[in-house]
Symmetry: C2
DNA sequence: TTTTGTATTAACAGAATTGTTAAACAACTT
DNA sequence: AAGTTGTTTAACAATTCTGTTAATACAAAA
């Protein structure tokens, strides 16, 4: 049995956490404008005054969610770069697979991030500065590795950024367009698990054939 | 010089049209929830009462836009199927190219439609019924054509729907992620026109290599 | 036991937004 | 010119939503 102090702390953390969970769900599915603090509070099982007590404003609550989601998005994006210790073709193959899995476990993430950036570009300008320098160095290395592999005749010469965009396109669009495609594709998408496995294989195949000599 | 009757009619049509134009812009960039009827009215140069006079409610104004955009989306999607009178490889190549061009001329369209369907799926259930029968017949034909081309050794055997999804992914994601990618990709995307030409070529290449034996 | 800080509720305030209405107005018809 | 019709404006009504506050409960610390 927990003592009262611990229980209190837990209960507080639970309320805060439940608000955050409810907020995540609301913001990811409805966006900032569509989300309602009253609706979040209700889903979390607290009065809306409590929500303001813990997070002050809708804006601040939203930023808590945004921060985490942008971090996750960056993480998943890096997964697409693959493990530089592997031979190039393996690196790309596992990069595509890992990225697909990452997006599959966070299917609402890309649309949320994209919508956020489309609707308030100014707000994220600072992120670009930071991200760009990272990306520039990572890509220089990746491009050099690709160039060497191409010289060795292991794969075709290709622009690393273009290849990267193709991987992102194939993997992310699968989940962004899911609600749009699912009712149209009938049997192909009837069994979710099977479809995702097939789609993953298809995306890998598409990328691998792109880099094949 | 126009007579007064014509001028009136034109002015009315202009006001209505200007509201529609402003509404399209507002809804496509901010979504239904983020859009403000007052802001639309202001952009159209009319009082907000006028907007209600012409379109009654925000909802009805929105539906005017949605109807047109869904129609356009269907049209652009069909473009990806290509011209069935062409030999298979040419059909696919021009299908990808035409679809890319279509999306390029309506860059905000896919994200708008996807967001709409994600946020209010019930509302568009009826569309699916209609679309699904069309798609089923079109695909049966397309798949048969692909199968025949594959038997003749012109291309690999591939699931038509999977190929179609890849084309949509590569072309649409280019524009959906544009604001997200542009600040990160530096020189590659610095010149819009050039980047789009390169991206189009890359998408075509990716699809063509996918179907090559 | 008193004090102190935190958690919670209910009621309310303020702002923004959508939508309505009555009256003025303009143009056309007869 | 009078009436008819459709357009426009300004003011207002109603609602919804965010955020605040005052009162209260309650547990821990002193």
């Amino acid at each position: 049995m927990l003592n009262s102090k611990t229980m209190d702390t837990n209960q507080k953390q639970n309320k805060e956490k439940e608000i955050l969970t409810a907020a995540e769900n609301e913001f990811l599915t409805k966006g900032y404008d569509g989300a309602r603090t009253t609706s979040i509070a209700k889903a979390a099982g607290v009065t809306h005054a409590m929500l303001h007590y813990y997070f002050r404003t809708k804006e601040q609550l939203f930023e808590r969610i945004v921060d985490e989601k942008f971090r996750l998005m960056a993480e998943s994006t890096l997964a697409a770069l693959g493990d530089s210790s592997l031979p190039m073709k393996e690196r790309i193959r596992t990069g595509v697979a890992n990225h697909f899995d990452f997006v599959a476990s966070n299917p609402l993430l890309p649309l949320f991030v994209i919508n956020e950036i489309v609707s308030r570009p100014e707000r994220y300008a600072f992120l670009h500065e930071r991200a760009k320098t990272i990306i520039d160095t990572v890509y220089r290395g990746l491009q050099a590795d690709i160039d060497r592999a191409a010289e060795r005749g292991e794969m075709v010469q290709i622009n690393a950024k273009m290849l990267f965009m193709s991987i992102m396109s194939l993997n992310i669009f699968t989940f962004i367009a899911y609600p749009f495609m699912k009712p149209l594709m009938g049997d192909l998408m009837a069994n979710d698990e099977r479809f995702l496995a097939e789609r993953k294989a298809e995306n890998i195949e598409t990328i691998m054939k792109r880099i094949e000599i």
